[in-house]
């Protein structure tokens, strides 16, 4: 009897100890085996892939990197660059610095002649919130936000910028800015704290506000040149096309959903949009919102601290993966979901 009592006590202690186990999103040793060496030049924003070179913003400037070579700093500024973006059909990089409300400067860097030019007439009073939105630039337009939270569309022509005053009149709190080839979609809240979206169409130069839902959107990606796919914090999938938001009635399976960040790495390929969660990739069919979540295949190779994934047109079948601290990777020979492909350091 004594022997059994001792056994029971040991078992109770063991069960108690096991209950201390945290429930990590990913196994401890899986997490270790997926880790990668920290590099000195960390990527804070992926800019793009042009002419077989990857471009990114780091803490101390803008860098370019060819495959197999060291990163080369091409632009540095004091104060440091807050945000950058390609524009002018990828011939220039637009970047912005500011130390206070009145010292904002907007520059362009030309990739061909390697010259930096400060643009004149950036309205100094309306450029404050780039740490929130990142500078997203497309077809010469970019978004700024002033100290009163008003949001503006800015237009670049030659060496000057022009601000379209009070562009987005109803949004008071900016959440996210997306650009497609034809439009800028701004998500945020209005004065009544309702989530809204406003769409700026380049061709018509019109702003179309539309109250969407009281949802917090955490995943965003555009596809098919002028449509957007959104995922809210309840894992519901929405389509935003034209000026209307449509609930697809589909959602990411809650049992596998690991979409927590408001800056999900995402990309679109043909008919699908991929969102990277903590452990899974969630593939959503853009036409109807149905999804599949998976980790096998190529997604298994992409368990880094990813901040962006690009699919350069110049290298079909290849993903360029930008990570925060582990550098840039190239994933190639991906011909299906179950193909693990080949991951190499870029």
């Amino acid at each position: 009897m004594k022997k059994y009592s001792l056994l029971i006590i040991v078992l109770i202690i063991l069960v108690g100890l096991v209950s201390c186990n945290s429930d990590p999103e990913i196994g401890i040793y899986r997490s270790i085996s997926n880790s990668s060496e920290i590099i000195s030049t960390r990527v804070t924003q992926a800019l793009g892939f042009v002419g077989n070179k990857a471009y990114f913003l780091s803490d101390d400037g803008i860098y370019s990197k060819s495959e197999g070579s060291e990163s080369v700093k091409i632009v540095s500024k004091t104060p440091s660059i807050l945000s950058a973006s390609f524009y002018n059909t990828n011939l220039d990089i637009l970047f912005l610095t500011n130390t206070s409300l009145d010292s904002t400067e907007v520059y362009t860097y030309n990739l061909l002649d390697k010259t930096t030019l400060e643009l004149t007439d950036p309205d100094p009073d309306n450029v404050t919130a780039f740490d929130n939105t990142k500078l997203i630039c497309n077809n010469s337009f970019f978004i700024t936000q002033d100290g009163d939270n008003a949001i503006f569309v800015n237009y670049i022509k030659d060496t000057t910028t022009t601000t379209i005053k009070n562009s987005f009149s109803t949004i008071t709190t900016l959440t996210k800015v997306l650009t497609s080839e034809n439009s800028i979609l701004v998500l945020g809240k209005n004065a009544s704290d309702a989530y809204i979206a406003e769409l700026y169409e380049y061709s018509a130069s019109t702003i179309t506000p539309s109250i969407i839902t009281y949802k917090n959107y955490i995943g965003f990606e555009y596809y098919d040149t002028d449509k957007y796919l959104l995922i809210d914090e309840d894992n519901e999938v929405y389509n935003y096309g034209g000026t209307t938001l449509t609930d697809t009635t589909h959602s990411i399976d809650a049992t596998v959903s690991d979409l927590y960040s408001s800056q999900l790495a995402s990309f679109s390929v043909v008919d699908y949009v991929y969102f990277k969660g903590e452990n899974y990739f969630h593939r959503v069919k853009s036409s109807d919102g149905t999804n599949k979540s998976f980790i096998l295949g190529f997604a298994k190779k992409l368990q880094y601290d990813i901040i962006d994934i690009l699919l350069p047109e110049e290298t079909p079948g290849t993903f360029i993966v930008f990570t925060l601290q582990s550098g840039i990777f190239k994933l190639s020979q991906v011909d299906s979901l179950d193909s693990s492909g080949t991951v190499t350091e870029f």
């Binding site: 945290s22 196994g27 990668s36 601290q325």
Partner: protein, 197 residues
């Protein structure tokens, strides 16, 4: 050829052990305290569900450290039973710290005991608290070891212990991550200081 050399070495150890064991130095009730410190090397990670077998640099861990204290008492002239409390640390290549705290019951077999020289084979079984990146996990742990020791006095001796530790981080099929179930293999090598009386 290699196999016959290995068999010969094992037989020499066994016969030597039996030979020396016939003239035992230790008596029932003798006690041993040990302190050890050394290095810890990851040998492999085996993920049985996905059949990933990672060795060497693929385990993504750097050489770490190992330390422990133990106590044992002889219940026959050549076998002692006791416990060991250890601590290991390894850094992943991401510079995050992996630590384990093994708590083991230990059975030691004194293959050779001359009074000046001991050769001890050990078997430890117990649990280990594994911590990495704010996550804590309790795993079962088995360790086997071989320790030659030289005693400079009646009480104090020094040796080198080479061990192999294996544990399993288990996630059942009901878990969201059965693919992350892993069997680990580590090799701690340490200097061992012993006190006996």
């Amino acid at each position: 050829m290699k196999k016959s050399i290995l068999v010969t070495i094992i037989l020499i150890f066994l016969f030597a052990g039996v030979g020396f064991a016939s003239s035992n130095y230790y008596e029932i009730g003798d006690q041993t305290f040990t302190f050890q410190a050394g290095v810890d090397k990851s040998l492999f990670l085996y993920f049985p569900v996905t059949e990933d077998f990672l060795t060497g640099e693929d385990t993504k861990t750097n050489l770490g450290g190992y330390g422990s204290i133990s106590y044992s008492s002889f219940f026959t002239p050549s076998l002692s039973l006791g416990g060991e409390l250890g601590y290991t640390f390894n850094y992943s290549i991401e510079r995050k710290l992996l630590t384990t705290v093994p708590m083991l019951a230990r059975l030691n077999y004194y293959m050779v005991q001359t009074g000046k020289f001991d050769l001890v084979a050990g078997l430890g079984m117990g649990i280990s608290f594994t911590r990495y990146d704010e996550n804590l996990f309790l795993t079962p742990l088995i360790q086997i070891s071989l320790t030659p020791s030289y005693f400079i006095s009646d009480n104090w001796g020094f040796g080198v212990e080479t061990a192999f530790s294996t544990s399993i981080e288990f996630y059942g099929s009901n878990s969201t991550k059965p693919n992350d179930t892993v069997i680990t293999g580590f090799m701690p090598i340490s200097l061992k200081m012993s006190y006996r009386h």
